[in-house]
């Protein structure tokens, strides 16, 4: 089902948290609401599921305005950051809760619970209580509970934030698998750009209560609207240098953005600099190179170069990957 948020504004008292925001999610699509902490991601999510009232604007589910509907009648599944499982109920009861309040009969309910427990691989845990589960298992229960009522939309608020690195990787693909299997329209809130890029069809990058850019991960990475987007996406992050540092100048260009993979010996030897920092990441090494005017460029290279801090290098930049920004930070 298509979701449209049109000119949405949210205020808490006098402070405007979200201003005039518009967002469309196509049916079956999974998008990420990505942004730094406090930019209004959760607020947007809560407005969509009805926990927060919408102060201004429209919220359309499949072309129908639902802004005035209470959360109970919006048919949205939500996975909260802390999972918000009901501690006094067993896993089965937790999953069955959305069906129970719909007064679905017991046998149908049990069949559904079983089906969704199998979908998220927790059929062996049904009689346990949330307190007896690991973080990853709790998260699966929360997912099953959100999915069991067959919602029109699935909203996930930083679902992976509480998991360890390995589990996070596992659940990333798990959530994507579930979303694709069920064909649900989903919104994932995250402040982790890797998560957003690897899981979602499109990313809405937010900053200060606005959407800065809304695009596919690839085009957002390659063609960022401005320097904020360019710096937010990519790990290790992009580095910015002036024309002087780079030894080239163009009209209206205030700064150049160079991603680490766009700087290195394979791109020539136009720039000379001193290696100030080396970080070994196993397969790759990360270098900080201080240019003659003191500006720093980052480079990522296959491991085993043997270059140590203090060494002087003559490297070049990939001209075709150079990003140009004007005085206001807009990309040219």
């Amino acid at each position: 089902m298509q979701l449209d948020l049109i000119n949405f504004t949210k205020r808490f008292g006098d402070t405007t948290v979200i201003e005039d925001m518009s967002l469309s999610v196509s049916s079956g699509e999974m998008i990420a609401l990505l942004g730094p902490s406090g930019c209004g991601k959760s607020t947007t999510l809560f407005a969509i599921c009805g926990i927060h009232r919408i102060d201004q604007g429209q919220l359309m589910f499949g072309g129908k305005d639902v802004a005035h509907l209470p959360s109970q009648s919006r048919n949205v599944g939500v996975v909260f950051q802390n999972y918000a499982l009901y501690p006094h109920m067993t896993v089965a009861e937790n999953i069955a809760f959305p069906l129970k309040v719909q007064k679905m009969n017991r046998t149908d309910r049990e069949a559904m619970v079983r089906r969704y427990a199998e979908l998220v691989h927790i059929e062996a845990l049904l009689e346990r209580r949330p307190a007896q589960l690991s973080g990853g298992q709790q998260q699966r229960v929360a997912l099953a509970r959100a999915l069991v009522r067959q919602p029109d939309f699935l909203l996930l608020d930083e679902p992976l934030a509480n998991l360890d690195a390995k589990l996070r990787l596992e659940m990333r693909s798990e959530i994507r698998r579930l979303q694709q299997e069920t064909g649900l329209t989903a919104i994932l809130v995250t402040h982790d750009q890797v998560e957003a890029m690897s899981m979602c069809d499109r990313i809405a990058l937010m900053n200060g209560g606005r959407i800065v850019q809304y695009d596919t991960p690839t085009s957002m990475y390659e063609r960022p609207e401005n320097d904020f987007v360019a710096s937010f996406l990519g790990n290790p992050p992009i580095s910015f240098v002036s024309g002087a540092g780079l030894g080239q100048s163009e009209a209206r260009v205030a700064r150049y953005g160079i991603r680490p993979e766009g700087f290195g010996p394979q791109f020539g030897s136009a720039l000379s600099g001193r290696v100030t920092f080396v970080e070994t990441q196993g397969r790759e090494d990360l270098f900080d190179v201080s240019l003659t005017n003191g500006e720093v460029l980052r480079s990522i290279q296959p491991a085993g170069s043997g270059i140590r801090p203090g060494a002087t290098v003559q490297w070049g930049v990939a001209q075709d990957k150079l990003l140009r920004f004007d005085q206001d930070g807009r990309r040219l």
Partner: protein, 433 residues
């Protein structure tokens, strides 16, 4: 190491003293009093020995032979210093003096002999028969109505009456006016029909008030939770007022409210109902008022505990239930109430105990009336031991009443203790909000 222990004990000692003084000692004393027949009549210290008509009646009931009773009653006449002094008062010192000269230390077993002695005085003859009778009475030395400070003195006097020693023991016991050890109080508790009545009243009182307390406390906590913050706090503050009001003032307001010239009577008067005391006119009204008075006070406590318990529920859990489709009522029923299980259990246990032993609001409101309709166990204990119309305060019986409460209280505490140790209620969930 020893030093540390002593230091710990030293820090604890005020608490230990407090507990001993204000908790242990009363309990021990209650147990002690309960097995005595202490009352206003016996006093709480040791007593004297006194035979009076009441003790004779008691002895008669115990089956003391009639002739022994007659002997005790009869007594004789003795010309002794006390009698002579009294005679000097009643007549003239000369009369007394002459009697002493003639019959000093004489004893007469019969009244006629005594009278003859008075009649036969040479110089100070008492002429009138009536005067003689009165004067003779002054020398009557019966064991009856005479107080003896020690048992030995009483036994000596008893043997003088010529009572056979076989009965001495029984008579001495009957004559003792101080308190004695007895299990009569406990037997009486089980025998008296009023005891059953008090027990039934107490059950009714505790059950109804508890239901009201917990139910209304829950209702207030939940409804104020859904109100906007400021309003909720204001409502809770209002419901908390009865608790911070002095009980006397609070109950006085209820009495004013229900008096025959009070608010209720005035208002119902407009509808043609003749004014009456709405609290005391029937036992139903009395019970309603008693439950409401205690209930409103008790509910505020439940409300505070339940409110904070509700607010301790992570908001995300409430949000989750809303997006899961739960209505307000379903949210209360399936999310909030189950998580209040522990506080509800706690309040129930706590209130049961405090309701069992508290009677001050009933005392101030109905004083157990009308009749004995609202007389609960603890109030009965108070009335028996410390305040009754007859004037004879039966400390022993009252303590026996109280002892039953102590036993129930300790038993209930032990049960609750186990209950609250129950793992599932104590362990906090590992996930939190």
């Amino acid at each position: 190491m020893r030093n540390v222990n002593w230091l710990g004990l030293a820090f604890l000692s005020p608490a230990l003293v407090m507990v001993t003084l204000f908790f242990l000692l009363p309990v021990v004393l209650t147990g002690f009093f309960a097995f005595t027949n202490m009352s206003t009549a016996t006093g709480v210290t040791g007593g004297e020995y006194l035979l009076n008509s009441a003790s004779l009646r008691r002895l008669q009931n115990e089956g003391l032979p009639q002739e022994v009773l007659a002997k005790l009653e009869a007594g004789g006449y003795r010309v002794d210093a006390a009698g002579l002094a009294a005679l000097a008062e009643a007549t003239t010192p000369a009369t007394a003096q002459e009697l002493e000269q003639l019959h000093g230390a004489a004893e007469f077993s019969d009244r006629r002999d005594m009278e003859r002695a008075l009649k036969d005085l040479l110089d100070n003859r008492i002429r009138r028969t009536r005067d003689r009778k009165e004067a003779a009475e002054l020398f009557k030395r019966s064991i009856l109505n005479e107080r003896f400070a020690t048992e030995a003195a009483f036994r000596a006097a008893l043997s003088e009456t010529g009572t056979r020693t076989a009965y001495a023991e029984q008579i001495t016991t009957a004559a003792y006016t101080g308190w004695v050890w007895t299990t009569k109080n406990v037997e009486l508790l089980f025998a008296l029909p009023s005891t059953l009545r008090y027990a039934a009243n107490t059950t009714l009182y505790v059950t109804l008030t508890l239901a009201f307390n917990v139910g209304f406390g829950l209702f207030l906590a939940i409804t104020t939770f859904y109100l906007p913050k400021g309003q909720g706090a204001a409502f809770r503050a209002i419901w908390f007022l009865p608790r911070i009001l002095p009980p006397v003032l609070y109950v006085l307001m209820w009495r004013w409210f229900t008096w025959d010239t009070g608010f209720l009577a005035t208002v119902t008067g407009y509808f043609g109902i003749s004014p009456k005391n709405w609290m005391l006119d029937t036992s139903y009204h009395a019970w309603t008022v008693v439950v409401l008075i205690n209930g409103f006070v008790g509910a505020s406590m439940g409300m505070i505990i339940f409110s904070s318990a509700i607010r301790a529920i992570p908001t995300s859990m409430l949000h989750a239930s809303e997006v899961d489709g739960a209505s307000r009522w379903q949210q209360v029923r399936w999310i909030i109430l189950p998580q209040l299980a522990w506080p509800i259990l706690f309040i129930t246990c706590y209130q049961t105990l405090s309701l069992l032993t508290s009677f001050e609001y009933i005392l101030l409101a109905t004083d157990g009336g009308p009749g004995r309709a609202t007389e609960v166990w603890s109030l009965a204990a108070y009335h028996t031991a410390l305040n009754n119309y007859g004037g004879n305060l039966e400390y022993g019986l009252g303590a026996a009443f109280a002892l039953v409460l102590v036993v129930i209280g300790i038993a209930a505490s032990l049960i609750y203790f186990r209950l609250f140790n129950f793992k599932r209620l104590i362990t906090k969930p590992l996930i939190e909000g």
